[in-house]
């Protein structure tokens, strides 16, 4: 099948210039015109100034990641030209402010230049400087042969409820930008936004939104959380929707309180979660073990960023895999799932709630900055098959009740305070009733009861790992998390390479992984960390050594071009 054209547009400017809004507008226009989208966002850890950039990659086929090449650049400041001029392909378009503020001469002859007096037009329609980005968007729609009505609709949807006075100004700005481009550049640019016939509407969302949606759909009742990049927008999203859907969102004083409070709410019978990044999870680790020891269900969403310490607050890393697998002292069943994109994050969040209640233990869902922040288009999520499973929860008064009764699957009946049942929930080692006990027999029986939950979960709930590409291949790539995107994008270029994507980390699908990895001639591990944490885990579980590795830990995601180059270098060995 011939590969469809993948294009990309980049919008750059200072924080506060509306870069992200413009990017979202562009991607929704493209989505509504029938294209698939992947948005890549770079921003520093500050509110005003600095360099912000959003890249929308789009195609009539699926797109999975950012690409290196840029077809069209919108420069809201001079810095954008300087930083991104080398990414422009021959024949690329550059739209920029022409009232002497920006000099685009350094991009050279290879590009088509579209100078537009953005601020002057913004002022003429009666808008503030911030409206300049809307003028740029209107001009871009004309240049790319797009449908202006999509942009006018988006402006209306955006402002009609919150700030109706801004609807007219922004719509005028969009129209004026469109008209200016039509008058001054009648031939336009490539018709990259031409409407595609027969499109079904898709959704465009990022991982923070999809985790929030998954939690709401799965029946979330309580979340306590402390804000931290890159998951702060999950807190914002859930807070905004809490009254409508009837769950409680509480921002608390620190991550220690966040996890202990959500444990309290869960213990009392509420479907509960918390979320943080690696640094916050450091503070949560004792609570993580508390949930394991007391057997209280809890979902923890950990959004990774570059570590250690404050690290790279607004950049990504896959550095916490080993951390969540071993965090907190001692041994208890840690269920760890790792989403590869926003869609997986939605479904795995829903699964995590059921697993946490079924096995009465904490379940970590690992995501990362790339998943949290990057929008992608998907078919509307279908969760009709999902059923809330609260496991062995009993709200009635029982004649005889032991909180930590020994069972064959490791899971004891759980009840709640107020039910009339007497029980102790104890972080000290305990007997079946929950009383403190340091007896050898109690220690051994309770430890093996708790730990057996993981093997029960592996047998009952763990699905087969996902394989993309042909069943047998010369190279099998192994990875997890958001590197899935650039790997799938790269795979479009090969018919003899497949990809094993692991999103169940603990329990681990040992036999299936062993089976898949022994079929291929070459194995390639790709991870955004420096120690190949997944490769180490695979060696630990299967004994298989993955010698070819593509690793990075500079906070930046992989580009499909880098992955393709690595694949070619391995294939060329033959």
């Amino acid at each position: 099948m011939p590969k469809s054209k993948v294009s990309s547009i980049k919008i750059g400017g200072q924080a506060g210039q509306g870069v992200k809004t413009s990017g979202i507008y562009f991607s929704k226009i493209a989505s509504r015109s029938g294209y698939n989208i992947y948005n890549y966002i770079e921003y520093p850890s500050l509110i005003k100034g600095g360099h912000n950039v959003i890249q929308t990659t789009f195609s009539v086929d699926d797109v999975f990641s950012q690409i290196k090449e840029v077809n069209f650049l919108i420069a809201l400041d001079q810095n954008t030209i300087e930083v991104h001029k080398d990414e422009l392909i021959s024949g690329a378009g550059v739209l920029y402010e022409n009232e002497g503020k920006i000099d685009a001469s350094s991009v050279g002859d290879k590009c088509k230049l579209f100078p537009v007096p953005l601020h002057k037009i913004a002022q003429e329609v009666g808008g503030a400087e911030i409206v300049a980005n809307t003028v740029a968007m209107g001009a871009t729609v004309y240049l790319m042969g797009g449908n202006l009505q999509h942009l006018l609709d988006l402006i209306h949807e955006d402002f009609s409820k919150s700030k109706p006075e801004l609807v007219t100004i922004n719509q005028k700005a969009a129209q004026a930008g469109f008209d200016y481009a039509k008058t001054n550049f009648p031939d336009g640019f490539d018709k990259l936004l031409a409407q595609v016939a027969n499109t079904t509407p898709k959704i465009l969302l990022n991982g923070n939104e999809s985790v929030g949606l998954g939690a709401i759909a799965a029946g979330l009742q309580f979340i306590s959380m402390y804000p931290m990049s890159p998951v702060s927008n999950l807190l914002n999203f859930l807070a905004e929707n809490q009254k409508k859907y009837g769950y409680i969102v509480k921002q608390v004083e620190d991550e220690i309180s966040a996890i202990n409070m959500s444990i309290g709410a869960s213990y009392a019978g509420a479907r509960s979660m918390t979320s943080t990044s690696g640094g916050g999870f450091c503070l949560m680790t004792e609570g993580y073990g508390l949930a394991g020891m007391t057997e209280v269900p809890l979902v923890i969403v950990e959004g990774m960023r570059g570590g250690p310490a404050t690290g790279l607050p607004t950049w990504s890393e896959q550095g916490d895999l080993r951390f969540v697998l071993h965090a907190s002292q001692g041994e208890f069943p840690r269920i760890v799932l790792a989403a590869g994109d926003a869609k997986e994050a939605f479904y795995l969040t829903m699964v995590a709630f059921n697993l946490s209640e079924k096995y009465q233990t904490p379940v970590v869902v690992l995501i990362d900055k790339n998943i949290c922040d990057h929008d992608q288009t998907f078919q509307v999520f279908d969760y009709s098959a999902y059923q809330v499973n609260r496991g062995k929860l009993v709200l009635d008064k029982l004649d005889e009740y032991n909180r930590y009764a020994l069972t064959s699957d490791g899971v004891s009946p759980r009840t709640v305070p107020g039910s009339g049942n007497y029980f102790i929930t104890n972080s000290d080692e305990h007997d079946e009733e929950g009383f403190d006990s340091e007896e050898i027999s109690h220690r051994n029986s309770q430890m093996s009861k708790r730990l057996s939950k993981l093997s029960t979960c592996a047998q009952v709930d763990m699905p087969k790992p996902l394989i993309f590409g042909p069943e047998s291949a010369d190279i099998t790539i192994v990875s997890w998390g958001s590197t899935k995107g650039p790997i799938l994008e790269s795979l479009k270029n090969f018919n003899n390479v497949n990809y094993l994507h692991l999103n169940w980390i603990s329990p681990f699908p040992v036999e299936q992984v062993k089976d898949i990895l022994t079929k291929s001639k070459y194995l390639l591990d790709i991870e955004c960390n420096s120690s190949a944490q997944l490769a180490g885990l695979i060696k630990e579980h299967t004994g298989i050594d993955i010698l070819d590795r593509l690793l990075k830990n500079d906070g930046r995601p992989f580009y499909p071009e880098e992955i393709s180059a690595k694949i070619n270098s391995i294939l060329n060995r033959q």
């Binding site: 869960s266 009392a268 999902y386 305070p417 009383f435 403190d436």
Partner: protein, 285 residues
């Protein structure tokens, strides 16, 4: 509804004979029996320290969590089910040391819970180190040359942080402590009782006789609603200068009222179902 003897468990307290915890235990069981606190309506949480063992000795639903974290756990329970009477058993090290930040922020949020602070001015379970309330100059295992740090007053801290019911009592005055526990539970908001208790093994300064000699009852005309006067009162400490009784009280909406006007929150249900999010999904097109 349980009698005092029915509130006992299979375990007899492991505290040292003469420990102030026995008075607190007796007062709590007495209050529970008289008020009908039982397993249909009451939950206790505890931190770590000698006080925390109480979960084994009272036949009421209990959650013994981590050192310093009993207040967040109790707050979560209360947010989820406001119908429960929720008690926090905590110590001076647990509440003011390890859990100090949670204490401050709970005071300003005002959850409708009762915090019973076993304050023996020493670390007992770790065998005799200074606590945040140990007096200046006190010689302990970790301060062989005398405690350099100034002690914190839990009462001052509670009042200045926004707690709405702040009392102090002596652990062995079981009658008065019982009454204060009942009043604290009836108060709609964060209630704290700073319970002065002797540690007969590791604190030779704050002994039973020290407390008996130096505490005094607040006079009948004392006005606990004057915040500045209450704060001044909270600073009193010394010979014949330790006030006990209800020191401060105000009425303010409880933390749970953020999520329900009358604070009547109970999200515990057996019929939890998948929610329809099609409206939110439609917004993303």
């Amino acid at each position: 509804m349980s009698t005092i003897s029915e509130l006992g468990t299979k375990v007899f307290p492991t505290w040292c004979p003469g420990c102030g915890n026995f008075g607190i235990w007796a007062a709590f069981k007495s209050a529970a029996a008289s008020q009908g606190w039982d397993n249909t309506n009451t939950q206790i949480t505890a931190g770590i320290g000698c006080h925390g063992h109480i979960v084994n000795f009272v036949k009421l639903n209990s959650f013994e969590g981590l050192h310093g974290r009993a207040i967040p756990v109790a707050s979560g329970i209360k947010y989820a089910n406001n119908k429960l009477n929720v008690f926090v058993f905590t110590g001076d090290g647990d509440c003011i040391g390890e859990g100090g930040n949670h204490f401050l922020h709970a005071c300003r949020r005002n959850p409708n819970i009762t915090v019973l602070l076993h304050n023996n001015n020493i670390y007992g379970l770790t065998t005799g180190q200074t606590s945040p309330t140990t007096s200046h100059g006190f010689k302990s295992k970790t301060t062989p040359f005398g405690n350099f740090d100034e002690p914190l007053s839990p009462v001052s801290l509670a009042i200045s942080s926004g707690a709405t019911f702040v009392a102090r009592c002596y652990s062995n005055d079981i009658k008065k402590l019982t009454e204060l526990m009942i009043a604290a539970n009836n108060h709609p908001g964060m209630a704290i009782i700073d319970i002065l208790q002797p540690c007969i093994t590791y604190n030779n300064e704050c002994t039973a006789s020290f407390f008996k000699e130096n505490i005094y009852d607040l006079p009948a005309d004392y006005d606990p609603t004057n915040k500045v006067a209450a704060f001044q009162k909270s600073l009193e400490w010394g010979a014949k200068q330790i006030p006990v009784g209800l020191i401060y009280k105000e009425n303010r909406p409880t933390a749970e009222q953020e999520f329900s006007e009358n604070g009547d929150v109970s999200i515990v249900t057996n019929s939890l179902k998948t929610r329809d999010i099609s409206e939110l999904l439609a917004k993303l097109k």
